[in-house]
């Protein structure tokens, strides 16, 4: 039987709130077994970009990563956020190592081809070096990934943190029984979007179809869940969605998704 590996993703809302971040990192440190953290960057990059006089260009609600924006993202995600998270984890006795996809060639991606929109320096993940990442894990280090990859030719690329999470989990499934924990603002996938306590505890392929038929899965959640099932079909054992408290043993009020 394969050993267990947890891949935990936190979003910008936690990163930006020092108290929430510290509380989360304590939970993450106490999480038993081998683990990987993936973090987004959030509004910090936008804030620093605007201070530097770089305007965030948005097309259809999506940020365009021009060369200047990529610099800011590299500074904020790869430097400021990542290294502070690592230092905080070290203080909690978790032997963290901060990474972009360029480090140890961990995550190679391809610059998104221009169709209708040129997203700029945005990468779509092509390859996860699961054996290299495992060398770090086997050395008892805890990888902390930020949302940056590279193309193997010297170019860093801005990459969606959820995608990094699922692709790293899929890659590591060759060696481990992997679980993803997507920490977000909600308690889980909700039966009634207006009732934060209406958490659907378990979703599998069958109940998912039913939820779709009943129109329970709303716009924002649909691509998230599609990505989840894609990861599950590619080897990930289970995916959990909820607030950070799902990392504790006591709380079971979150959504677990399996095939």
């Amino acid at each position: 039987m394969k050993e267990k590996l947890s891949i935990v993703k936190i979003g910008g809302n936690i990163i930006e709130d020092e108290t929430a971040l510290n509380a989360f990192l304590k939970l993450f440190s106490n999480l038993e077994g081998k683990k990987i953290l993936v973090h987004g960057g959030g509004k910090r990059a936008t804030h620093i970009a605007s201070k530097l006089g770089i305007e965030s260009q948005m097309v259809n609600g999506r940020r365009i990563t021009d060369a200047e924006t990529l610099e800011v993202i590299t500074m904020v995600y790869g430097g400021l956020v990542n290294k502070n998270v690592v230092a905080k984890l070290q203080a909690l006795n978790t032997d963290a190592i901060g990474l972009t996809g360029a480090d140890i060639n961990a995550i190679k991606s391809v610059k998104r081809p221009v169709k209708d929109i040129d997203f700029g320096f945005v990468g779509d993940v092509k390859q996860v070096a699961h054996q290299s990442i495992d060398k770090l894990i086997q050395a008892d280090f805890t990888p902390v990934f930020c949302a940056i990859t590279h193309d193997g030719n010297g170019q860093l690329l801005n990459t969606n943190a959820d995608t990094i999470t699922s692709q790293v989990a899929v890659g590591m499934s060759a060696l481990y029984e992997t679980s993803i924990y997507y920490c977000f603002e909600l308690n889980g996938v909700l039966e009634d979007i207006n009732d934060k306590n209406s958490v659907i505890k378990h979703i599998d392929s069958n109940t998912y179809k039913d939820l779709l038929d009943r129109g329970i899965i709303a716009d924002g959640m649909l691509p998230k869940l599609e990505n989840c099932f894609d990861a599950l079909r590619n080897g990930v054992k289970n995916i959990n969605m909820g607030n950070t408290a799902m990392l504790t043993q006591e709380n079971n009020n979150f959504t677990t998704i399996t095939l």
Copy 2:
């Protein structure tokens, strides 16, 4: 006999010049054997700080690292510079991994005590985790350190890159026969500061005394050489100073320092 390990340090002048940086990274990639790169940050941080409206406070010609300046340093050294260097090295088939002293708890330091001057968030190196660093080297990764350490309590600290270089080299001497390569603008230690070709090829404790007596070692070089002999006394095998061409086999026009 111990295996050889080269620790190469480049300064801000190379970091800031894309052509020089690319040329150097090629030389570094071609350098045989196990190796570590240490880089400074240079004026990029000052430039970005001033764009962000943060004034660099200088006391007696030394920069004071207040909280805002430390943020910029973490962004520029730990993010922008370090991750671009890593991506460029990957393109040259060197399996680089970018690190601060917080990552894998590699370099622990102590915030410099306030005497006459409060330098702010500046760290004096206390401990190098040579065994953790060696785990990366044994896994065939090439560590790339920027000039940031941590105090073990969650605080990142700005730390002199020359000091990081010598302290890492001293630490790694427990396991390897270590050589330091300090790449700088000069061809080496010069007999005559006005003649760039008057490189002193070899300095040891005896000839060093003689050079001191004759007043050859000038102000800027004095602390550098004192640090070199300190590192040599603590286990480093030899220290080389010169321009980046000293990394090639053909060039022997640089200064080698031994005990």
